[in-house]
């Protein structure tokens, strides 16, 4: 157990293992994404009330779900960095922020595009949508804060504090559709009890959610690898790797 944590703190080991994970995870992710997209776009029947515009949920819901999950990853990594000063946690946190921002952007944008034909408006200042916008600003804030500091350690601490304070927003996003009267519909998929969505629509949606989780994992690992090399630029293993043209 402890040797695992010890290895986790070793950059060359992490670089190697993430490379071998990506070799099979990346093709699987792309396959799942393409399968889910084609399934949702071509092989499902339209919603009886929303018509074809509902097909946007196959990207909107997965992006929103994983954008929230990504925030946990970022905040927990930030906490680990603050408490145990684990460098790899800082690397993970910095790697998670831009991916989370991209996914939140996708969720907001596809929500707006879906809102136009369905609600008749691109945007409303409603609890769910506003709290998602705050999530986007939190992610972008972490990205910007890292760039603002020259001292990497200070940057890591400041970003960890920002992301931990920002976790207040997460339960607000989850509960916003129940707490406030909102245009946004409540959750259709439930872990307990009957889901209010037909299985023919549920299965491609679940596939897409899984694919987006895998996408997040791939991007996180790839960002971490790039960041690791830059932080370890002075070490022998990175220099050898550079001379070998990245293979080794």
């Amino acid at each position: 157990m402890w040797s695992f944590f010890h290895k986790l703190g070793s950059p060359p080991w992490l670089y190697g293992i993430s490379g071998s994970i990506l070799r099979w995870l990346l093709p699987l992710t792309l396959l799942a994404l393409v399968t889910g997209l084609v399934w949702g776009l071509l092989f499902t029947a339209p919603d009886f009330r929303q018509g074809n515009s509902y097909r946007i949920i196959y990207i909107h819901v997965p992006a929103a779900v994983v954008a929230l999950a990504g925030y946990y990853v970022m905040a927990i990594a930030g906490a680990i960095n603050l408490i145990w000063k684990m460098k790899m946690a800082d690397v993970a946190m910095k790697a998670a922020a831009p991916i989370g921002a991209a996914l939140t952007f996708i969720a907001l944008l596809t929500g707006a595009i879906w809102g136009k034909p369905t609600w008749g408006t691109w945007w409303v200042w409603d609890a769910r949508i506003t709290s998602m916008l705050i999530l986007l600003f939190l992610y972008l804030g972490v990205v910007a804060l890292y760039e603002a500091y020259d001292n990497k350690e200070a940057a890591g601490k400041a970003c960890a504090v920002l992301s931990l304070v920002g976790t207040v927003n997460i339960p607000i996003i989850y509960k916003s559709v129940d707490w406030w009267y909102s245009l946004h519909q409540p959750a259709s998929i439930k872990f307990t009890g009957e889901s209010s969505i037909d299985p023919s629509m549920l299965y491609p949606l679940l596939l897409m959610i899984t694919a987006f989780y895998a996408l997040f994992t791939c991007c996180l690992l790839m960002n971490m690898r790039a960041e690791l090399l830059q932080r370890e630029a002075r070490t022998n293993w990175v220099r050898k790797l550079a001379l070998a043209g990245g293979r080794g």
């Binding site: 018509g51 944008l109 595009i113 791939c218 630029a233 990245g246």
Partner: protein
Amino acid sequence: MYFQSLDALLHMDGHGVFVWSAYLITSAVIALILVAPGRRRRRFLRQLAGEVKRQQAAAGDTRGGD
């Protein structure tokens, strides 16, 4: 397949513009976050390789000058 023709698929009863633009923009963003880290890593390794080679050459010169 649900749609009868390519035209029906593109048009989607008037929702085609919304659905397709949402899918296209999402695909572009996903492509970006998938490609960017690899490019950053490879560019960095190329730069570092150049730097290491220059340092080695410089070290070789000083040894030769002794």
